[in-house]
């Protein structure tokens, strides 16, 4: 009897196992991008160690004609280029899957399985023969296996060669050698294996308008578009690339043509306290400014966040979350800073949070955060995470409306001050919306100066220890908080796909949980379980969130942390009965899978859990 073979067109998971620092990233990226250019929705994910060289690293690509971008779980093709992780890389395969390996040396029989297929290519030997330079021997190994995959999966070879040409634009010397390596792999596979495999791809046109971009790249670009000029920062994974993206785009678009001077100041600070201090100072002085960090940085920034809240200084902070607590797993993802961000700092504080789910939204919310900070004169904390921030994610294209004007909020200019017949008071609630007028330093020789302080102040910004003055400003801050509800992005609702079925089940989530949750919603609908979904996009929660909670009997709050932090926030801030909010937490540091959500929901609803064959895996996933 012949072994089971996975057969599937445009729907599979391939995982590359490499050694960190061996140049595999560009070859693997080439493979993924080629599929994207063949019109296929893909979602590549880097699974990398907190280390510069030598430790195992994986690159997992899901291809899904249906357009599912969440992690699927399970692996159909494993490209095992790292002897150190070989056992894992065989164990992760689904039955009937394929293992590609370097057959220069025989495969260790102790780790072999008899329910998977072996695709041995003598990569080391081929490179040894072909190249003299040891670095080339190393690098081209990666390109050769991509060539072999092209034959095995029936990829369009011309897409690959086109991509190589695009990638090495300006370095033409590199084009031919790369194409040659691709051809070596392609030919070897043609000659030695039955091509294509049961798993294969076919051209579609499902990605025509789409782009592939990392969330951090989009954040950095959004900050350039949003008019940020001063950046204070301190390096920390996974936020660093957001600041690097800002720098990259600013160096392109923000250099004065005549003088070569910069229209921005990027300041690598001594720590995160200084990074956010820089943001407060710059914003106070009328510039748009931001910092980016991750959990440990948020902890350090909290004293300043309280000052910004109480003294009402616009502040923009991007928190690219990683796995906590403490140093945790610095290169794994999580959504576990929700409470730390929402209530950062001592005393009664709460902060506006934004939850982007796609690169397009990262771009938009990045730019928006500066408008919101200026309008609300308070910290705006954008919560992304490693999964969205550091992976290339397929997204709708970015858009910018050229008629858009920055909203600089309530700022009195010199002219405004001249015209005023009432005296200026920094904390007077003139418009009755909780937001007061501010002035930039240096605006007027005699009017509008005030003293910014984190100590208690009255409406005219003077120090006070009078209880009624203190309570007055705390209550006004609450009023401002209510105003914020109408300004932050509204949640997005996804009703159960079968319009004929009404349901009192709901699911609620945000950010990178979205793709997997919506996929689970579809799978469950096919299985007869109908659930409405709501993606929150900001805190404070507005009436639509309240309405969703009251319309449903049971609401699964799906999030990537242990303690159900989003659920806690909903309990604190909304009127919903907590017993109706069911925590569904997935927090192992890996991007979430639809099957895990599906399983948890079925378990809670006490529906018999039979996993479909495809999702069964051996060992880790």
């Amino acid at each position: 009897m012949s072994k089971h073979q996975i057969t599937s067109t445009n729907d599979f998971v391939i995982r590359f196992a490499n050694v960190n620092g061996t140049g595999s990233a560009s070859a693997n990226g080439l493979f993924a991008k080629a599929l994207f250019r063949m019109g296929l929705p893909i979602s590549p994910k880097n699974i990398f160690p907190s280390n510069i060289q030598g430790l195992p690293t994986w690159y997992e690509v899901r291809v899904s004609e249906k357009g599912y971008l969440g992690r699927r779980g399970g692996v159909d093709i494993s490209v095992a280029m790292n002897p150190q992780s070989l056992k894992q890389d065989i164990d992760c395969l689904q039955a009937g899957g394929y293992l590609m390996y370097d057959s220069t040396k025989p495969l260790d029989i102790r780790v072999q399985r008899d329910d998977v297929h072996y695709l041995g290519i003598p990569l080391t030997e081929m490179c040894q023969r072909e190249y003299d330079d040891p670095r080339k021997r190393q690098l081209f190994k990666n390109v050769i296996y991509v060539g072999a995959l092209a034959a095995l999966l029936d990829m369009d070879f011309s897409v690959l060669t086109g991509l190589v040409a695009d990638t090495f634009k300006g370095k033409e010397k590199l084009v031919l050698p790369n194409i040659h390596a691709l051809e070596m792999g392609y030919q070897y596979a043609q000659e030695h294996f039955q091509c294509p495999l049961g798993i294969r791809v076919e051209r579609r046109d499902l990605t025509t308008e789409k782009i592939m971009m990392s969330g951090n790249d989009a954040l950095g670009l959004g900050a350039v578009y949003g008019g940020a000029t001063v950046v204070g920062w301190y390096p920390i994974t996974p936020s660093t690339s957001a600041v690097e993206a800002f720098e990259k785009y600013a160096n392109k678009f923000r250099i004065c043509e005549q003088t070569g001077c910069k229209k921005f100041a990027l300041i690598q600070a001594e720590d995160e306290l200084a990074a956010i201090g820089i943001v407060l100072g710059a914003s106070w002085n009328g510039a748009r400014s931001f910092t980016a960090t991750s959990g440990p940085g948020v902890s350090l920034m909290s004293e300043f966040l309280g000052l910004a809240y109480f003294a009402e200084v616009p502040t923009v902070l991007f928190d690219i979350q990683r796995t906590g607590p403490s140093t945790g797993m610095p290169t794994r993802t999580q959504q576990s800073d929700i409470l730390a961000a929402a209530y950062a700092s001592h005393g009664d504080t709460k902060h506006v949070l934004l939850f982007p789910a796609t690169p397009k939204e990262c771009f938009e919310m990045s730019a928006l955060s500066f408008d919101l900070a200026d309008r609300l004169q308070t910290p705006i904390i954008l919560l992304s995470d490693l999964d969205l921030g550091m992976n290339d994610v397929m997204s709708d294209p970015l858009e910018w409306d050229d008629s858009r004007q920055y909203d600089r909020g309530k700022v009195l200019s010199r002219k405004d001050l001249e015209r005023m017949d009432t005296p200026f008071g920094r904390y007077r609630d003139v418009d009755d919306d909780g937001i007061c007028y501010r002035t930039y330093p240096g605006s007027h020789p005699q009017k509008g100066a005030y003293f910014t302080r984190g100590s208690s102040h009255n409406r005219d910004a003077a120090y006070t220890e009078k209880s009624e003055d203190y309570v007055d400003s705390m209550e006004r801050l609450l009023k401002k908080w209510h105003t914020a509800k109408s300004l932050v992005p509204a949640p997005q609702r996804y009703d159960n796909p079968d319009a004929n079925k009404s349901t009192d089940l709901g699911m609620l989530f945000f950010g990178t949980t979205t793709d997997a949750a919506l996929e689970a919603q579809n799978i469950l609908a096919e299985e007869g379980i109908h659930i409405n979904a709501l993606r929150v996009r900001a805190f404070p929660f507005n009436d639509q969130v309240e309405a969703f909670l009251s319309e449903h009997q049971q609401i699964f709050v799906i999030e990537q942390n242990r303690d159900g932090q989003l659920r806690t926030l909903l309990m604190n801030e909304c009127s919903a009965d907590p017993s109706r909010l069911i925590p569904l937490t997935l927090y192992d540091g890996m991007p979430v899978c639809a099957q895990d959500i599906r399983r948890e929901i079925r378990k809670t609803l006490k529906v018999n859990n039979v996993m479909p064959l495809r999702a069964q895996t051996r060992g880790d996933s």
Partner: protein
């Protein structure tokens, strides 16, 4: 509480070139202890700004937390002030200066604020050579939390609690010198003659100007056993030089005896005249300054005056090459690349 001064002004008060009286440069009434050194420093700042004839609203005042950090409320009422968090004034000043390089920045700190909780931020703002006056009102103790030893207290010095300090002090001038400050001075709150011209020179200097002002805390550290008391200071101060500051476009009217003074010209043409007093310090040599500080300390003396000055222009904005226009004044057209550029970026991501 903030107490406002009565607004009555005598009509014949002298005015500066801008037509402002000295009172125009004052702030709210101080709530510090009567006799606190910090109040004399505030008065010296008022005097210096008045004499320099700067527009108060072109100055931003920043501070951390402490009695000293409260003082920006007590000078320059027409200037914006930012009383930030303990030890973090340097970062706020960095951001503010990055946003608008055309204003003058006066940062006021304490020895606790700068030598302990804010030692890191202090060091880094020096390294950045941010164009600002950074003034520490150094009383060797934490005034606001009732007199605990600070990191600048000398070994053996004892304040009101009567317990001698056991740990090596941090000398902030020496630190500033080692970290590349371009203007370093030390003074005494009781020596207005010296402090006012030093302040004028420091505010005019285009770069990081650091002044450590010994400023006694009358309530907790003015004891006979304290080395930061008024009496101790009066006895042990040694002036490196007598400082005179002549702003640009002003004629030099004083006759200096030939060979006794040195002229240092700042970027805007202002001139500092140094008349040698008790030392022959070479103010262009940071090592000489470090040695002089050390030698005096060994003798139990405190060397004051201008200790080091580098007149080369290499302030922060110059180093990072930002444009001369304040960044905060840039508008959409300068900042936003626009929709067409974005289409191009989209195409590059396919």
């Amino acid at each position: 509480m903030t107490y406002h001064r009565p607004s009555f002004r005598h009509p014949d008060l002298p005015t500066n070139e801008l037509g402002h009286t000295r009172q125009y440069y004052e702030g709210a009434l101080s709530t510090l202890c009567a006799g606190c050194g910090h109040d004399s420093v505030s008065a010296a700042i008022v005097q210096a700004c008045f004499e320099l004839a700067i527009e108060p609203h072109h100055v931003a005042k920043l501070s951390g937390i402490g009695c000293s950090s409260k003082t920006p409320a007590y000078f320059l009422n027409q200037a914006h002030g930012f009383n930030s968090v303990h030890g973090r004034m340097p970062s706020v000043a960095t951001g503010a200066n990055a946003a608008n390089r055309q204003m003058a920045y006066i940062g006021i700190s304490g020895d606790g604020d700068s030598a302990s909780i804010g030692f890191g931020q202090f060091s880094h703002v020096v390294r950045r050579n941010l164009n600002m006056l950074y003034l520490v009102e150094n009383n060797g103790c934490y005034g606001l939390t009732k007199g605990q030893d600070s990191a600048t207290a000398d070994v053996g010095s004892a304040g009101k609690r009567g317990i001698a300090t056991a740990f090596e002090p941090i000398d902030l001038c020496a630190q500033a010198l080692q970290l590349g400050a371009t203007f370093v001075a030390r003074s005494f709150s009781g020596d207005k003659q010296q402090l006012v011209p030093l302040l004028k020179a420091a505010i005019t200097h285009k770069g990081f100007a650091f002044i450590d002002v010994i400023s006694p805390c009358v309530t907790f550290n003015n004891t006979t056993t304290s080395t930061k008391s008024y009496d101790h200071m009066r006895e042990h101060v040694r002036q490196a030089d007598v400082v005179d500051f002549v702003p640009a476009e002003k004629e030099i009217t004083v006759d200096y005896a030939p060979g006794t003074t040195k002229e240092l010209t700042l970027h805007d043409g202002s001139v500092i005249h140094l008349t040698k007093a008790q030392s022959d310090l070479d103010t262009s040599d940071p090592h000489a300054a470090l040695n002089a500080i050390h030698d005096h300390k060994v003798r139990g003396e405190v060397l004051t005056g201008l200790l080091y000055l580098d007149t080369e222009l290499h302030d922060f904005h110059r180093v990072i090459n930002t444009m001369p226009t304040p960044l905060r004044d840039l508008q959409e057209k300068d900042l936003c690349p626009g929709g067409d550029v974005l289409q191009g970026i989209n195409s590059g991501l396919r």
